[in-house]
């Protein structure tokens, strides 16, 4: 038993901290820690800074421009970035399409597209979910009909995160209607400036815009944009779901958020006494802290297994469920701590002299509502429970 990082991992961690202290733009970190919206420009700046250091896609093999990080280095990277208040790397190119191309793409596709992900030429978004097919991907209806050396795509995708900033989208589409629902699905790459595409923003519960609907009307896509074989998109979809799940528990987010709540509870007073002195509130904090400290170890245990080449079965689903529950519970605590100061709809007018919530906390309630999504997307926690139950009953 050894719960500590190896000397090499600690050295990497120290490098990272230095790097973040020097290169992470303060204005961006301030937005992230205050849970305010990070702009397209912010994200592109941060990607470029990371890319200059070779760390934008550290877990990619060196042959493709990465560092070949294993699960533990990847975890260290994500944890340190969280703690420093760095924005999340937009995952659609780096963490999703990249690995798919490396595994299923042609050498031409790899040579063409991977560098464009790294240098920011392409901003990819994801066309998976449809209005009638959320957790049940196999029932998707968007059709791609072959017409010569093109597909003609008709249908609708939804929940396309940050699609408003993207120039390209990777989609699961139906290329065969008969047979099992899983069998007729293909994975295609589409330029968003193709005629017939309309992207409509979806306003979210707290008032922000981060997801979109994408409508396809007779959109012509060259057959060369197919990744993998026709009708084998399901394999790619499963590969993607099983891939890149090191940060699935979101421990870094939770650690950073819990520290914020702790300092909030010391800063906020009730009748002159710091909120932390309220036993009921402190009890909520202590309970979640114990869960989170346990979660850190649960996460490391699975990472260690992955790093030793062990096959992860049910574990990522466990991490997803418990990790999101803990994050949401911390969001809930921050909102609670604020009391009435959580009530105002966030607006610039309320900053400065008039600020009601302590600095950096005006968006805590909005963030609580927004983060209800994390137990829904990426395979809802109910789907994860189904997966775990299947494994459990098969033992």
């Amino acid at each position: 038993m050894d719960l500590d990082y190896s000397p090499q991992e600690r050295a990497f961690q120290a490098d990272l901290r230095d790097f973040l202290a020097e290169h992470l733009p303060r204005d961006i970190a301030a937005k992230v820690t205050a849970r305010r919206e990070v702009s397209k420009d912010d994200m592109e700046r941060w990607h470029a800074i990371l890319n200059a250091r070779g760390w934008l896609a550290g877990s990619w093999p060196k042959a493709f421009g990465g560092e070949g990080w294993g699960p533990i280095e990847q975890h260290v990277f994500e944890e340190e970035c969280c703690l420093a208040g760095a924005p999340r790397i937009v995952p659609f190119g780096v963490k999703m399409l990249g690995p798919v191309l490396m595994q299923f793409g042609t050498p031409e596709q790899q040579a063409d597209l991977l560098p464009r992900i790294l240098d920011g030429t392409d901003w990819w978004c994801q066309g998976y979910s449809e209005p009638g097919a959320g957790s049940d991907l196999a029932s998707l209806k968007t059709r791609a009909d072959r017409d010569g050396d093109h597909y003609v795509i008709n249908g609708q995708k939804t929940w396309t995160t940050l699609g408003q900033y993207a120039n390209r989208i990777f989609c699961l589409v139906r290329t065969k209607v008969d047979g099992k629902p899983q069998e007729g699905i293909s994975f295609v790459l589409v330029d968003l400036d193709s005629p017939g595409i309309e992207m409509r923003p979806i306003r979210l519960i707290e008032g922000g815009y981060e997801v979109n609907e994408v409508f396809f009307t007779d959109v012509r896509v060259p057959v060369a944009n197919l990744v993998g074989a026709e009708n084998e998109g399901w394999t790619i979809a499963k590969f993607l779901l099983g891939h890149e799940r090191t940060n699935i528990a979101g421990v870094g987010f939770s650690v950073q958020a819990l520290e914020q709540v702790k300092s909030l509870a010391r800063q906020i007073t009730r009748n002159g006494r710091p909120l932390i002195q309220n036993t009921l509130f402190a009890a909520r904090l202590a309970r979640i802290e114990a869960e989170l400290d346990a979660m850190k170890i649960t996460n490391l245990r699975m990472l260690a297994r992955a790093a030793q080449g062990g096959r992860l079965g049910a574990e990522p689903s466990m991490l997803k469920i418990k990790g999101t529950e803990i994050r949401q519970a911390i969001n809930d605590l921050a909102r609670r701590a604020l009391g009435p100061a959580a009530a105002p709809f966030p607006s610039e007018d309320l900053d400065g002299n008039l600020s009601i919530a302590p600095e950096g906390h005006a968006h805590d309630a909005a963030s609580y509502f927004n983060n209800r999504k994390i137990s829904i997307y990426g395979g809802s926690n109910e789907i994860q429970r189904n997966i775990l139950a299947k494994g459990m009953m098969a033992r």
Partner: protein, 357 residues
């Protein structure tokens, strides 16, 4: 024993429900709730015409209602429609003005909108920590301090302010125009404001106002509990409807047992919430008023948050959107716990009662 509403009350509830559904439809509600002034003066007047404000007040004070059950019935409809009108201020003001003997004519007619300014950032839910002070000057009294998140503060004609005068908490009346008001919308819609007072002239209307203010806070908490109940009924109806229609894996998601059992538990919790609101309504004006109200606000706050979170989760995406009404119900259900004491605050009151009994 009889748990039926009286005919009068049922008629009022039905009238109000019809009015809100016809005159305060969903698109209108969304626009009003988030666009300054965050309420609709015309609909306020319309609700007054229905006799809404008379129902808040007892016959001895010129009204036609004023019991706990009257308040509960009205706020249940307000909650069901997610109506952002600041009726809460009228409920609390009616209690305070009655305690001082001030005539209620302008409140009853809906002509004057009152906001009650008690909470401060350091003392959001109770009276002990109030820092706002009242100073006697040559020509009267002046108030200095800040009242935070005053519901309806930005659209009020008059403010009733709790402030420290001569070592006790007193109640003051002032024209809203006299204060430095900074109105804003709440995250769940509807009007609130920061009220900045600096040597602001005000009329003292109750020198020892502790008891009256506590009473007004109780009535406000009852109203909010009933409002949450109405919003819960609407949310639960939408959820059950969704479970029956939305399909995944080829069948309605309402056929999945795990979701069924969770929905059942929510339904039972809502029945319990209804019961505790009934119990609190029946206790208004009796010696157990404070305890019953604390129980109601505590239990309702707990159930409302759970329902909000579960309703979003079980909808699985759609209720995360602004366009789908459940998202707004969910916000109201969570944020109502931030008004007049959250579930832990009221649990704290109950604990004190147990410990001193």
């Amino acid at each position: 024993m009889n748990f039926e509403m009286s005919d009068d009350r049922r008629m009022l509830a039905e009238t109000l429900r019809r009015y809100l559904s016809e005159q305060y439809g969903w698109d209108h509600r969304l626009r009003v709730a988030y666009q300054a002034p965050f309420h609709d003066p015309e609909k306020w007047a319309g609700m007054a015409d229905l006799g809404l404000f008379h129902a808040l007040v007892g016959e001895d004070r010129g009204g036609m209602g004023g019991s706990g059950f009257d308040i509960a019935v009205i706020f249940e409809e307000i909650g069901r429609a997610l109506c952002p009108e600041p009726v809460l201020g009228a409920v609390m003001a009616a209690r305070l003005l009655s305690a001082t003997g001030t005539p209620l004519t302008a409140l009853l007619s809906g002509e004057t909108r009152y906001a009650v300014a008690i909470g401060e950032l350091d003392a959001p839910y109770d009276l002990d920590g109030i820092a706002c002070r009242a100073d006697r000057t040559g020509d009267g009294w002046r108030l200095t301090g800040r009242k935070s998140v005053v519901y309806g503060g930005g659209v009020a004609d008059r403010l009733l302010v709790a402030a420290r005068a001569n070592g006790q908490i007193a109640l003051f009346d002032l024209a809203a125009a006299e204060a430095d008001l900074h109105p804003y919308a709440m995250i769940d819609g509807g009007p609130a404001a920061e009220v900045l007072l600096e040597d602001t002239p005000a009329t003292p209307i109750l020198p020892a106002a502790q008891a009256a203010l506590s009473d007004a806070l109780d009535w406000g908490a009852l109203a909010l509990s009933a409002e949450a109940l109405g919003a819960m009924e609407a949310t639960s109806a939408a959820l059950i409807d969704y479970l029956g229609t939305r399909k995944q894996f080829g069948q309605p998601i309402g056929t999945f047992q795990a979701l069924q059992h969770r929905a059942v538990d929510l339904t039972i919790d809502i029945e319990q919430a209804r019961s505790i609101v009934i119990l609190a309504a029946s206790a208004m004006g009796t010696p157990v008023q404070a305890k019953r109200v604390a129980q109601a606000k505590h239990l309702v706050g707990r159930v409302a948050r759970k329902l909000a979170e579960e309703a979003i989760q079980m909808h699985g995406g759609i209720a995360m959107t602004w366009e789908y009404p459940v998202s707004h119900y969910a916000k109201r259900l969570v944020m109502i716990d931030h008004q007049l004491g959250d579930s832990d605050h009221h649990l704290g009151r109950l604990i004190e009662t147990l410990q001193t009994a």
